[in-house]
Symmetry: C2
Subunit: 465 residues, 2 copies
């Protein structure tokens, strides 16, 4: 009788259609956003159930992997040629993402590889360079196989200087090239003379000066710097202004101290002052040094690598060590520079998703509302929603990367492949958009989602064990 | 009948006692935080009523003054000795705040003045220096009378280099010394050999290098830099990390270009890297260049200067031009370094309240939650409350200084003396706390309130016109 005497109180579960109708009629209703696990796919649901039987062991393994991932202590210690830092053999070109045969390499990545071969002087023109690759006289290998993370095309050759980041908690090292700046740059598939001239300056003047300056300083604590930058509206993928300014300020005493030729110091200072994304490559090198110790924990479903090569998206999951799980990469959604649109875009590329893998980038979107606006995702509320969504697929929160807008709650970190498959929420990644044509460069920026296929494949491999 | 049939709905006006009691009993009540104007003071209420009779004219005058205040375009253009930049006569010492006879100067400000006289070589010891001041052989004048804003004691002498900030919208210039860093520093009343040695280095090496570098760069847009820093968790009074890093990055190309002796460049770079508050003095110089054009608008009740000298708090109101209205300065409330407490503190000092005068500092507290914590004011909510409270006494919002946490709403700016007297809300100012004893230096940091007396005095002067 009491029930019938009062107005109905409604809880709606699943499809939101009923709740929306009631809302339109001003009838209060609580909507529970429930979906069947794994989108209702019976095969995946069975796989999840099978993994659930050993839940305690997986949770323990994930806790170990997460602890290794989040306890990293990256220090920037050096900058020297890849030949020395990575012992990179001659006639080897590194690229971003999972391994890829030349035939499947997309146009802008091809352009970057051919440009790099000319830059090294192994061939005088693109035809000759292509021929070297096709007959195996130049080897292509992923950056991730050489303790390196490469932005966009991610091309690294032996004479290119790379930053050396040492994870002092775990003894690993991560590397990345020096960010070339904006406009026509190799990583976006531009490869004309101006691009190669800049690479020459980087190799012969900027790189050696940075290296000598960093060695004089004895190591810059990147974890502290990144934690600080996160408090200063950088998410360290699309926005690196604070981190770049803090790094510049920290490096200049060492650079000035060793820089005998003061015009070289001035040119480097000007380069640093003109490139707001300079720090991105450092965040990636730091990330590489931080994710590697989390790999190889038996039974762990934690994602330790996410990377794209312009053709495939590849992940590694801790319990499967260095094995790649790949699926075709998605197209980024975002904003385009004037004169360009989605038809001009290449599928997504780059190892920069390592930033999301360590809990920054799109995962920390709420810390950088300017990025949310830039990416067309709206304002503060949408940025907060993105971080909240990523929290649903993460095993934990970062103890060092904390977000003031969330009252210092840690950034979500440690993607659990189980949660991705169960919720069908795939990791979001802030990204630049490259032209699908060689020689053009960047045409926009946006967000891309990892394809679900990588995660189901990884989970199947783990379930089969 | 309908009224009696339903539960009572309560609106409580004024004293919150009734509302709190109802809240304790879970009775819903809307509380209106109303107070009688001017705290119920009949004389002030009559003054406000008198001014209200010419409200339209005052509002027009304030709109003019506010437009001048908020349209300033400060550019950092130079750094050179006060002797040249300010045409400061020999044997003149500038100090912060309103004018003050030597007898009323507080201990730490005295120590700074005597130290500066020794630094200039006008006397060999404090006794001789004091004697020069007492017999008028050294003149004391406020910084604000010389287009300058001085932090804490605010001491400027002819050989000290000052930054030159040019307001390109209005043709005014503002100046400030080079921030000395933390620890034992002249501005906090320390004056031993280490303090004077640093001043010597600043005058002979750092200042000339900064000046040459800035002249080579042709002007740095400080309004853009400050707007950016406000988006990066600086309020530019207690926290200047982003602004300092951005400024360092912008200046280094010029400094390196002109810095032939590279060890000098390295020393300066190290000094910049080690001083997170370096930018504060620039914010003050920019502020001085921005407030001066807003002065002298007939009838305007807008506050153009707030400044303290360790004894008095002084303000200027636009309609009264360069006339000072003073009242005894308050003690700051805040946190103390270990071993110090409120009994050790000097009353508040410094021209740095110019930062609040242009809508930053405590007025922009919500943009810098880290500062709210540091000042014992709590977290994000308290920081937002501080900005909201300051909005109640401000004539407008800053069109350039926008706060991401408020969805890009402008910072409150343009204190209206009428609103201060009407609401009894006095401007809040973020501040450092100096020891009341000479030679000690900074002992804490906190918030201080401007004394109401300045504002009532200014309003009475305007009302008498």
């Amino acid at each position: 009788m009491a029930l019938l005497g009062a107005a109905p109180r409604v809880v709606n579960v699943g499809l939101d259609l009923f709740a929306l109708t009631l809302a339109a009629l001003d009838v209060p209703a609580v909507h529970v956003d429930w979906r069947p696990p794994a989108g209702g796919d019976p095969r995946l649901a069975a796989l999840l159930a099978r993994l659930d039987a050993r839940r305690a062991a997986i949770d323990r393994a994930n806790a170990t992997a997460l602890e290794r991932l989040t306890s990293g202590a990256p220090f920037l210690v050096d900058c020297r040629p890849a030949r020395e830092a990575l012992e990179l053999p001659e006639r080897t070109v590194l690229h971003s993402g999972p391994p890829l045969p030349w035939e499947r390499v997309s146009e802008p990545v091809r352009a970057a590889i051919l440009g790099a071969i000319r830059y090294e002087g192994w061939a005088a023109n693109d035809d000759a360079a292509r021929e070297l690759v096709e007959r195996g006289a130049v080897r292509l290998e992923p950056c991730h196989h050489h303790a390196t993370a490469g932005p966009m095309a991610g091309v690294v050759t032996p004479s290119m200087p790379v930053f050396v980041v040492e994870n002092r908690a775990h003894g690993t090292r991560g590397h990345a090239t020096i960010n070339e700046g904006l406009g026509k740059v190799l990583r976006y598939g531009a490869n004309d003379d101006s691009v190669l001239a800049r690479l020459n300056w980087i190799a012969t003047e900027a790189g050696p000066l940075l290296g000598a300056g960093l060695r004089a300083l004895g190591g810059i604590d990147l974890r502290a710097l990144m934690a600080q930058a996160l408090r200063m509206a950088d998410e360290m993928h699309q926005r690196n202004l604070a981190a770049t300014a803090l790094l510049t300020r920290a490096m200049m005493p060492g650079i000035a101290q060793v820089g005998g030729r003061h015009h070289a110091v001035a040119r480097l200072a000007e380069f640093l002052a003109g490139n707001d994304q300079f720090f991105l490559n450092l965040a990636m090198a730091a990330g590489k040094s931080m994710v590697d110790p989390a790999g190889g924990v038996a039974g762990s479903t934690l994602v330790t690598v996410m990377a794209r090569n312009g053709t495939d998206f590849g992940i590694r999951v801790s319990g499967c060590g260095e094995r790649w799980f790949t699926a075709p990469v998605n197209m980024p959604q975002g904003l385009y520079f004037p004169g360009f649109g989605p038809d001009d875009a290449n599928p997504d590329m780059g190892d920069s998703a390592i930033v999301e893998t360590i809990g920054l980038g799109a995962f920390a979107m709420v810390a950088a509302p300017a990025v949310a606006r830039f990416l067309g995702a709206g304002g503060t509320a949408e940025a907060a929603a993105m971080t909240a969504e990523m929290r649903e697929i993460c095993a934990g929160e970062h103890p060092h990367f904390r977000i003031p807008a969330l009252d210092d709650r840690g950034s979500p970190v440690g993607v659990d492949a189980r949660l991705v498959v169960e919720t069908s929420i795939t990791p979001a990644i802030n990204t630049g958009i490259a032209s699908r044509r060689a020689g053009v460069g960047q045409i926009g920026a946006g967000v891309v989602r990892a394809p679900l296929g990588c995660f189901t494949a990884a989970l199947e491999a783990l379930g089969a064990e």
